[in-house]
């Protein structure tokens, strides 16, 4: 069963870039997510929010892709926020340790407000 490429909308909010990720997140998301991050990086943002769809299916392949993106953001000294996750995937992201490298916010607005407030 083929997965459609993720549609990722890139939004600019002051000094924050928000990547609005549509669709499921699996190993097949690698080209879409890496391309979106590469585009976002062009404006040299210090803060990036990854927004997911609450109904998204996320598996270990997708988690591995996300971690590889986080490795890049770490090298580039970027602060990362995550929002839009279901309660289940908030739990999963915490279990695998993603929360050591990104902060999970309850809503998109919470993420934008909190990250705007920090330098």
């Amino acid at each position: 069963m083929n997965q459609r490429p993720n549609e990722v909308k890139i939004e600019s909010h002051g000094d924050i870039i928000l990547l609005d990720i549509h669709g499921d997140v699996t190993a097949f998301s690698e080209p879409s997510l890496n391309s979106a991050y590469a585009s976002a990086k062009e404006s040299d943002p210090k803060k990036i929010i990854l927004k997911f769809e609450e109904s998204a299916y996320i598996n270990s392949g997708g988690i591995a892709v996300l971690i590889q993106v986080l490795a890049q953001t770490r090298r580039n000294n970027q602060k990362i926020g995550i929002t839009g996750l279901s309660d289940h995937f908030k739990k999963v992201f915490n279990m695998v340790g993603i929360t050591k490298f990104a902060t999970i916010y309850p809503t998109r607005q919470d993420a934008l407000s909190a990250m705007s407030a920090v330098p």
Partner: protein, 148 residues
Amino acid sequence: MRAETTVPDDQTVELNLPSKFGYERIAIGGLAEFAKSVGFSSPRIEDLKTSVAEACINAVQHGNKGKPDARVLVAITFKENTLFISVFDEGGGFKAELKDPNIERIIDNLDPPVGFGVFLMKRLMDEVEFNRTSNHLHEVRMTMKLTG
């Protein structure tokens, strides 16, 4: 390909899937309905879905290793207030005793980003076992007790 270890009755469901990524979605959809029908809560059903999806993905990738005509069999049974789920592949098994993935080492490119599937299964399910069946299939057997 049949799961010898299950007894067909009205509390047992078996799914025979192509060994291709994406088909685990069919398994977890059916599993969610079955688990709901016997009384599992929504959060526990999400735990079941993730665990079985990961077991199926491992069966495709590491068990059947891309063999085009291989199959993945998912057998679900509810008895004694417990859900028993087995995922079978036709391969030689994979390293069940993988050490837990270390995200710091992965971020620093010291380890590859692998092992999250087994890691999640072990944490989300009550029990996980890795077996070889008498008809030469590799089995991941998981259980979750209905509580509350």
